[in-house]
């Protein structure tokens, strides 16, 4: 789960991480009402779940209130990578002396949280990681002891020669780590963390992602959740025990298991087609799941053919076949469907499906070729 910059900012504030003053506005009228006419330089930033909003024109400076209103008008409603801007953050601009990057992430290799700090702040850290990884200091945090005082200070002193700045930065590292833990975060970034010309250390922009598996114990985060229609589809699918991601191709696929589903998509591509989605129905022969899955699948107008790929494990293929028949009885569609059954009791399953007149095959490769072929008719 992702949240907006302004939401991350509120969390930072709650944890005592200094941020510049700012207001969130949903309309131009709100900007008129909430932004004082004090001649201060301000930044207007689009609040969307997409990176690269600066390049897209979603971040603008304003020297006067009139300019702030004007720029908010330009940004609100703008489309950034398919997301419509519904909110802007209007904040006091600060005189930046130096910019840094600070990030926390769950580290697969060390099986711990890793703190990353870089003096290359304000730019995309992925770029820094690619071009000059040595410019990012990575410290694995001992899960037992957390980010210790001395440790945060030692790291901060490498980047902030002035001990006062270093102490504030160390404090920010520790507060960010506390926030990260408390919220079951999977990514927490301050980019940039700055020293202002007035000598203050503060967080100018922030980003946080959260572990979906832990949302059950994070009611406050769930309240912050905002979803786009596409995400809503995925969430609805999840609620039905399905894992669905829409893509741009024409071959719809329905598979049991995430790895097999990915391998299915890969095979479609390998055979010259384009998958329309990722859809994992999990390990069950429940006809309702198949019906739900087919409905989701077919609601995508791009789909020209469907490939059903089931490997029978604990679930037997004959049971799956029975479920499919019940499901396909209810779903009337002209879209061609190829069914592949393999594994436990595959023979029996294929036998059962013969009555449906559906094209049935025994291997993934056959299924992929057949579905692509049918999609082109």
């Amino acid at each position: 789960m992702k949240i907006h910059e302004y939401q991350a900012r509120n969390l930072f504030r709650k944890y005592g991480i200094p941020v510049p003053d700012a207001v969130v506005c949903h309309t131009v009228e709100e900007v008129e009402a909430l932004v004082p006419d004090d001649g201060k330089l301000r930044v207007i930033k689009a609040q969307v779940h997409a990176g690269g909003r600066g390049k897209a024109g979603g971040v603008k400076l304003a020297r006067t209130k009139a300019e702030a209103v004007e720029n908010a008008r330009k940004i609100l409603g703008m489309d950034i990578k398919g997301y419509t801007v519904e909110k802007v953050l209007v904040g006091n601009a600060v005189d930046i002396d130096k910019e840094f990057y600070v990030g926390l992430i769950n580290d697969r290799n060390n099986k711990a949280v890793t703190l990353m700090v870089s003096a290359e702040g304000g730019v995309e850290i992925e770029e820094v990681a690619k071009v000059s990884p040595e410019k990012i200091l990575k410290v694995t945090i001992d899960p037992m002891m957390g980010l210790m005082d001395w440790q945060a200070r030692e790291i901060a002193m490498r980047f902030f020669p002035d001990i006062r700045h270093a102490r504030t930065a160390a404090d920010i590292f520790r507060k960010l780590y506390a926030l990260y833990l408390d919220t079951d975060s999977s990514l927490a970034e301050i980019n940039p963390l700055v020293i202002t010309q007035q000598g203050d250390v503060m967080a100018i922009d922030g980003k946080m992602n959260f572990d979906d598996n832990a949302l059950f114990r994070q009611p406050e985060l769930l309240e912050m959740r905002e979803v786009t229609p596409d995400e809503q589809k995925e969430i609805d699918a999840h609620a039905k025990g399905l894992s669905y991601i829409k893509l741009d191709g024409t071959i719809g696929c329905m598979v049991n298991g995430a790895g097999l589903a990915m391998a299915t998509m890969d095979m479609i591509k390998l055979y010259g087609g384009e998958p329309a989605n990722f859809l994992d129905i999990g390990g069950s022969s429940n006809p309702q799941k198949v019906i739900d899955a087919m409905n989701i699948l077919l609601s995508d107008k791009n789909v020209k053919a469907v490939m059903i790929n089931i490997f029978g494990g604990i679930t037997r293929c004959d049971d799956v076949a029975k479920g499919l028949i019940t499901a396909l009885d209810q779903i009337k569609t002209d879209i061609p469907i190829v069914v592949r059954l393999s594994g436990t009791n595959a023979k029996e399953g294929l036998e059962i499906l013969k009555s449906t007149g559906l094209p049935t095959v025994k291997t993934m490769s056959e299924a992929a070729s057949k579905a692509i072929e049918l999609s082109k008719i």
Binding site: N106, R108, N109, K111, A112, V113, I125, E126, A129, K130, D142, P143, M144, L181, D184, S186, D211, D212, N213, A214, F216, R217, S243, I245, L247, V255, N256, G257, A258, G259, L260, A261, M262, A263, M265, D266, M267, I268, K269, L270, P275, F278, D280, G283, F311, G312, G313, I314, S342, G343, T344, T363, M364, S365
Partner: protein, 290 residues
């Protein structure tokens, strides 16, 4: 021979009175696994189809000498169940549970390291030494005794591959589903080392996925340490960046973890990468026949 489990492994099922726990406990027993005990607090003295139930893993281990456990308890309590097994002295813990918060796993890891507990999973189908012992939710019937070691981050994709191997008369020493979560127990490297040391394993199949850099690390390990042939397959070559593909682990981010990078790493290590699952048996056979 095999790795991690064999016919002497004594299994305790944590969460045996739950729906999944009860079902798979019986499946395991039916396969021939030596399921010696189940745990369900407050139900000591009862039994499930002859499997005695205890209040705690400690009690179960004391009474039965169980040395492996398999966990079916719900996600919010799964990490605690792993800890219970570790403190009870269980040597191998297999966590089937899906949806365990990453923070919980991070908290558990140092304890396992300190106590020398081996963990498979969470969010994994388990492991099997065909004909001897199956721990987890694997469909035992598709496996066959032989000399191929297999490890995978996926579930059904694993079965797909195993089925192809079995159909091609290439039986298995041990097959392990390591799970798709970001923070998990035994991973490719540790398992590759175990397969390298196992005299019966002649070749290894590694099934990877996009996300993370475990496959890249495995490739380096193979290049530096493995004498036995390895064949790889990577799922998710067509997955769009940043999208979750069912497993929390399968996120492509920060420009690492793409299928291309993984395939490149294997190529550099001299490991053939199958374009589709059906190529795996052939690729491996060619290397084994050399």
């Amino acid at each position: 021979m095999s790795i991690l489990i064999n016919k002497n492994t004594k299994v305790v099922v944590q969460g045996i009175t739950g729906r999944d726990g009860a079902f798979h406990a019986q499946k395991m027993k039916a396969y021939g696994t030596n399921v010696v005990a189940g745990v369900s607090p407050g139900k000591a003295g009862q039994n499930l189809e002859g499997i005695p139930i205890f209040n705690s893993v400690g009690d179960a281990r004391e009474a039965t000498g169980a040395n492996a456990s398999v966990i079916f308890v719900p996600a919010p309590y799964a990490a605690d169940a792993i800890l219970e097994a570790s403190y009870a002295g269980i040597e191998l813990v297999v966590a089937i549970t899906e949806g365990v918060p990453v923070k919980d796993m991070i908290r558990v890891m140092p304890v396992l390291r300190q106590r020398g507990t081996q963990l498979i999973g969470p969010n994994c189908p388990g492991l099997i030494t065909p004909g001897e012992c199956m721990i987890g939710i694997l469909p035992g019937n598709i496996f066959k005794t032989g000399n191929v070691g297999l490890m995978s981050r996926s579930g059904t994709l694993t079965y797909e591959v195993v089925n192809l191997l079995t159909e091609n008369e290439m039986g298995q020493t041990t097959c392990i589903g390591i799970g798709g979560d970001p923070v998990a127990g035994l991973y490719y490297q540790e398992l590759l080392q175990l397969f390298e040391n196992d005299p019966d394993t002649k070749g290894v199949v590694l099934i990877g996925e996009i996300g993370g850099d475990a496959e890249e690390q495995a490739a380096r390990f193979i290049k530096e340490r493995m004498t036995k042939p390895v064949v790889a397959f990577i799922a998710g070559q067509t997955a769009p960046p940043g999208k979750r593909m069912g497993h929390a682990g399968a996120i492509i981010s920060s420009g690492t973890g793409t299928a291309e990078e993984k395939i490149k790493a294997f190529a550099e290590a001299g490991v053939p990468v199958a374009k589709e699952p059906s190529q795996i048996p052939g690729l491996l056979k060619r290397l084994l026949d050399k």
